[in-house]
Subunit: 475 residues, 2 copies
């Protein structure tokens, strides 16, 4: 991509924004100094030399000097930064109507139907919210209400959000963020294990909750275990664990905020584990990812690709979560999230507890979400993610620098031997204008998670720069 | 306003939206039936005969038949439905860049500075989130972290949001929504009381929390006590109560989600109680509302207006909240909210607890918020709210139908003798295409809360239709 040619348009658009939205910079100093003087101390910036951005297009971000950064990190702009279709839909809707869900509006219902059509038939109801955190928070309230139990099982380095309740089930926030008294952690699945090993840990956790008197309201699991260092396998681990929780009166809540909307090669992350999929228009769902159902996902150790197993091993009723939580890419950056659930689960909650989210499902966010869903399905982005993800994982493994590359579609975790080394690679790539990050309990996993519309040229550039960065850091 | 002339534009824009954002209505039935089949059981619609909306302009909403509804209810579109400046800023920014706060972006910092300039100097830091609920949830986490105490004092019929923690401090959600174990309620202020009466109740609540071992982390109070039936007075009640909580080691958290951004005649609701105001450009702040500082607010009982007192009676340090929570009108419908706080309060929280909100402070929401703030300040909407609010309150009182009309700016609560009567008036007004609602612990208070750009013609229409509705229902 030509830097100069591509940045001309964004820069003009930025000038238009500045003219439209009067701002009043009132203080002295560099942007970074001014920022530190007004934002809360909890704000962080990426990189010791932060990136100042003014525009984005596709998988590219641009700074004030017009320099092009390849975005291999951001999962929110799934169909591309500043997607023109999203921008047009948002513009038209913002100029027409933006109100709440206590009046009837057609877009909300049209979108809810189209969204539910991508799920197995059991998941037949939706509640909209603004953020993944709000959706996780609501899902846990619903699970507790439906089961009459309080306990929540999460993985050892899980991250589920920022509300008080979501933070209480997010051990990755560190030792100063105490977990809730009814929260029990289990080690995440490992590709070298049998699916039943994770299920056995979850069963033991549920038993502990039962003994404590809290009982297990649910297993809450990110279907790709992102913050645990990306754990796509073994396939079948999630439904096997769900069976154990259900046998003890609890539910399976699938956190699809990161894996959802096609990233892992299936429309929904849980489908990789189960084979459960409604026939969705446009070839989405796991069938679109290839005949095996897990093409585009696996573990590369020492150059050999090990598939993570075959889906549907648990079989039957345990294939479908009770609740799925959606977020990040849902509106391509417009704040929208959702809780998808089985109707019966929401009945008592709906009767007993009022839930109204002022901005949840508002027409502008819905307009953006409609374009995202139509694009993901219409352009078979799950299939594309499976195909391109395979290329990225194979290319990373070919560098010989990683002890393991775990991946599912366009979500890859490449294992290094220390957090320092991982950070050094992240920084060397930033200097080469490629954005990624590190993840995992040890901070020693490179996390690669580009917009779904990343193309082969972008991947060439990424692999070239990765090679150079690794050479700099020393293999 | 001419119905046909005004609806032509919205209808064309709606058609454009439909063309841009492909939807896939997949099911049979009326819109209402389809809605009930896909949304969670907790969703509600206003009115037994719900309003289906396709467009909005200023203080007017339009249904599919092009009928014009006068909006005297919605506080989110503060500067008018589908505000053209907001729509243009959102459109330009969505076509340019929409990312998160871990990269440097200028708009975030420009806006943070301009927003903080409207607060007293002590309130010098901001964290952005998506919804009022998220902001309340964060404010409570910060208050607990800063004080090492757990207890929260709220008013008897308070509503503060929908996360698990926000719901746990929202008794208005009803008996099936249990309050948190460390939550204590107090009766809200009454205009007939002295400011010290509310403070005495808060002091007693804080003492109970101290005895329980939890301690009082904060008084969390909506500065207009909306869900308690609109309680603008007596002026001075909030700082007097804050002094009691502070003497016991707790904080004052001002919930400005409803009163904030000029609605009550002051820029911030707490300023009505304290006289605290930074000199803001454009005449905002309480000084803009008139020399007395409480012009445009009061209580009308039997035709006589009683002012709610003089501001600043508590004096000094207790005039300024420790934390203020903003939401609803902040982005005129774009999902954005904020926690404003004293720097020291966020220091330990920032060091110990990671807080990152993916969509919080994202460029598109900030672009909308910049236009809202510039409009509220530039067009002196607080002063306008004070002036027009006086007209509405006086006009409602003149009907002779209400035992009391309590108001501050464009937020009025008109007291009837039963919930049935209040609902009958709400329904009769809906039949006359005027939207309001009922509020208060008994559901017997008419809540009138139009967009801030409502004009004198709109108010004429409202008062005419109110008169007719009251005649129908019987005075």
């Amino acid at each position: 991509m030509d830097d100069l040619g591509e940045t001309a348009r964004p820069t003009r658009a930025v000038q238009a924004v500045r003219a439209e939205a009067p701002s009043r910079p009132t203080r002295a100093g560099t942007l970074r100094e001014r920022r530190a003087a007004v934002l809360s101390p909890s704000y962080r910036l990426f990189y010791s030399e932060p990136v100042e951005l003014v525009a984005g297009r596709g998988a590219h971000l641009f700074d004030a000097q017009g320099r092009d950064f390849l975005d291999m990190y951001n999962n929110v702009p799934a169909i591309g930064h500043s997607h023109p279709g999203v921008a047009r839909a948002v513009a038209a809707q913002a100029a027409t109507l933006n109100t709440h869900t206590r009046y009837l509006t057609a877009g909300l219902v049209d979108y809810a139907e189209a969204l539910l059509d991508t799920f197995p038939a059991e998941l037949d109801r939706v509640t909209f919210a603004c953020s993944g955190s709000e959706a996780v928070d609501l899902a846990l309230r619903m699970a507790r209400c439906a089961t009459g139990r309080r306990g929540i099982i999460v993985s050892a380095h899980a991250y589920h959000g920022t509300t008080a309740l979501a933070a209480a089930v997010s051990p990755s926030l560190g030792p100063d963020n105490p977990l809730g008294p009814e929260v029990v952690t289990v080690d995440p699945p490992d590709p070298a294990e049998a699916p039943g090993d994770f299920a056995a840990r979850v069963a033991a956790a549920a038993d502990r909750l039962e003994e404590s008197g809290a009982g297990a309201a649910c297993l809450l699991a990110d279907s790709i275990f992102s913050s645990d260092g990306v754990r796509p396998g073994p396939v079948g681990a999630l439904p096997a664990a769900a069976a154990q929780v259900r046998a003890r009166g609890g539910l399976w809540v699938a956190d699809e905020v990161q894996p959802g909307f096609g990233r892992t090669g299936a429309m929904w992350g849980f489908e990789r584990h189960t084979g459960a999929s409604r026939d969705a228009a446009g070839g989405a769902g796991i069938s679109g990812a290839g005949a095996s159902g897990v093409a585009g996902s696996g573990t590369v150790t020492g150059g050999a690709v090990a598939r993570d197993g075959e889906p549907g091993e648990a079989g039957g009723a345990d294939d479908v979560p009770d609740i799925a939580v959606l977020g990040k890419p849902m509106g391509n950056g417009m704040p929208i999230s959702a809780v998808i659930h089985r109707e019966a689960l929401g009945r008592e909650f709906g009767q007993r507890v009022r839930y109204f989210n002022t901005f949840g499902g508002s027409p502008v966010s819905i307009a953006a979400a409609q374009v995202v869903l139509a694009t993901v399905l219409g352009e078979d982005l799950p299939g594309r993610a499976a195909r391109l993800g395979e290329r990225i994982a194979r290319g990373m493994a070919d560098t010989g620098a990683f002890s393991q590359v775990r991946y599912a579609g366009l979500f890859a975790g490449a294992q290094l031997d220390s957090a320092e080394r991982a950070q050094a690679v992240v920084d060397a790539l930033r200097a080469r204008r490629v954005l990624i990050s590190a993840s995992g309990a040890g901070g020693d996993v490179l996390k690669v998670r580009p917009p779904l519309i990343v193309d082969d040229d972008d991947i060439d550039r990424f692999l070239t720069e990765l090679d150079a960065a690794l050479a700099e850091v020393g293999r």
